[in-house]
Amino acid sequence: MSVDAKPDTKTQSSRHAPPPGSEGAMMRRAGDWARRAPLMPALVFMIIVTQLPFVVTIIVSFMDWNAYYPDERGFAGIDNFRRVLTDSNTRHAIWVTVMLTAGVVLLSLVLGLLIALLLDRKFRGRGAVRTMMITPFLVVPVAAALLWKHALYNPTYGLFNGVLKWIFGDNAPQPDWISNQPLWSIIFALVWQWTPFMMLILLAGLQSRPLDVIEAAGIDGANQWEIFRYMTLPHLRQYLELSALLGSIYVVQNFDAVFTITSGGLGTANLPYTIYQTFYTAHDYGRASAAGVIVVIGTIIIATLALRSVSTLFREETGR
């Protein structure tokens, strides 16, 4: 397991060389199109299925369009945006989305790093522990949310309160976990699913460390902490950034857990859930679209900032 960093610019330029015997631009253009041909189906497919709908979303976001009032459809200017941004529900949803994403990504990143460090050592049953760790990520998200809601959190027959009764007897406190801490209930369920993801990427990072250098540092008298702080952590930096970015991309869009555990109630509606509701239940298409456009702008800003720092990994990957 290693990061791809083999630069082979020599073969790269030879691959770009025009086909032998080409005379003039016609031939070269034909050659270019021959190179492009295998790419076109995938590219055209992606543009039609992912870019076109978004263009429509932008158009609809400037329209007054509620399916319940079909006669009032028309141009609305920036009304939808104004309504979305001044609406306290949406503002709360933005806040929830930030909290949920930051909470899940940071907690699972820290846990994932600690567990990756544990699993980077040789010990009996390491493969078995690794397999056990991966399992939560392989439970269908809806099923995982149902599991946490009903089998673990439930105040009357969930495992958590069951364990409390085991330990403290019949007088044990029996909290209603989801009602007391709705957002944390969702965060913990997601941390359980995303820690394996972080752990896997960070473990791959740890295992790509140059071991001889670290051993040499150990012989030169560096202690464990110094090796971790000055050698392991800098090496892991791009892996930490990559897993944080990828985790954020997925968690920011989370719908399954919010939908299943609280149905967006108790102040846990994040942006994807709010948009889903605006459009699916309230049928306010204009407003849902405006919210969608805002989410995309937010994502672009965050992703650009994040990509700038994380792109070293990808640049190494693509720069071969």
């Binding site: 492009r36 992912t50 076109l52 979303t57 809806v142 009903h150 990427i201 989410v295």
Partner: protein, 281 residues
């Protein structure tokens, strides 16, 4: 913690190492425990499953599974299989030539194309949902499994292109040059030179695309109804019944998760590469 004990990396250390191994085992067990609990509960009767404190030694029964299958989940499971398998096939069909044009005989500005694919992954699904819904509604395409197949293909295509490209760039150039000197055509080169080298890669890409399609909820929930609903949608509509249902829900969750668990364990070694879009190996 016994962190101060000097453990030179690569060498086994008795005292502190033993504690750390124990901690690793405990953490692993803690993470898998909820799944084991779900498995155990699925084999209990509803009465035993609802006991507090829980009765671990309660007699095992298949009643939960029987109750689940009595609710008629097969059409939704068949839909999930159809959507996942066909979209995965379509993804490979589109991604393989694309990855070829991005690595072995790269087009100009191929890095831009790679980042275009990556950027579509960052576009929140929910932002494109409404136009897709309106379009499907106007052409009578709602509640149609083909709509999901197309959307899942677009969802997984960037992942597959990135992954396959990282596999394809491992194909030794000499073999390709030898093939072109021998006068092999493009499709022939693909089939007999490139494909064998990357078949294991294709297999793991397929497993990962299968997992993501199988898990998807938002599209399926909004765009399907009674005909084309998938297994995750079926699961969400499951807990409406009155009375005790925990064993049934656990059985349902196990059954629906089973294909993903199998695919995931099968692709275990390539999981990192897939999840990091081929950036980490």
């Amino acid at each position: 913690m016994s962190g101060q004990v000097t453990i030179v990396t690569g060498r086994k250390n008795r005292g502190g190492g033993f504690v750390l191994s124990g901690v690793a085992w405990i953490v692993g067990i803690l993470f898998v425990l909820p799944v084991l609990w779900m498995l155990l509960t699925s084999f209990h009767s509803e009465e035993d499953a609802a006991k507090n404190p829980p009765d671990i030694a309660a007699p095992l029964t298949l009643d939960g599974y029987r109750a689940f299958f009595d609710t008629g989940p097969w059409p939704s499971i068949a839909n999930s299989l159809t959507a996942s398998i066909l979209s995965t096939a379509l993804v490979i069909l589109l991604a393989f030539p694309a990855a070829y044009a991005l690595s072995i005989r790269p087009v100009k500005k191929w890095t831009d194309v790679m980042f275009f694919f990556l950027s579509t992954k960052m576009l929140p699904v929910v932002a494109g949902l409404l136009p897709i819904y309106l379009f499907a509604q106007s052409v009578g395409f709602l509640d149609n499994i083909w709509l999901l197949i197309i959307l899942y293909t677009s969802m997984n295509l960037p992942i597959a292109v990135w992954m396959l490209r990282s596999f394809l760039s491992e194909v030794p150039v000499e073999i390709l040059e030898a093939a072109s000197v021998d006068g092999a055509s493009l499709s022939r080169t693909l089939r007999s030179v490139v494909a064998p080298v990357v078949t294991p890669g294709i297999a793991s890409v397929a497993l990962i695309c299968f997992i993501f399609s199988w898990n998807e909820l938002l599209f399926a929930r909004v765009l399907t109804g009674t005909v084309a609903q998938t297994a995750p949608v079926f699961l969400t509509g499951f807990v409406t019944s009155q009375g005790l249902f925990l064993a049934k829900v656990c059985a349902a969750s196990i059954v629906v998760s089973l294909p993903v668990l199998i695919a995931g364990f099968a692709a275990q070694d390539k999981l990192v590469q897939g999840l990091s879009l081929g950036a980490v190996k």
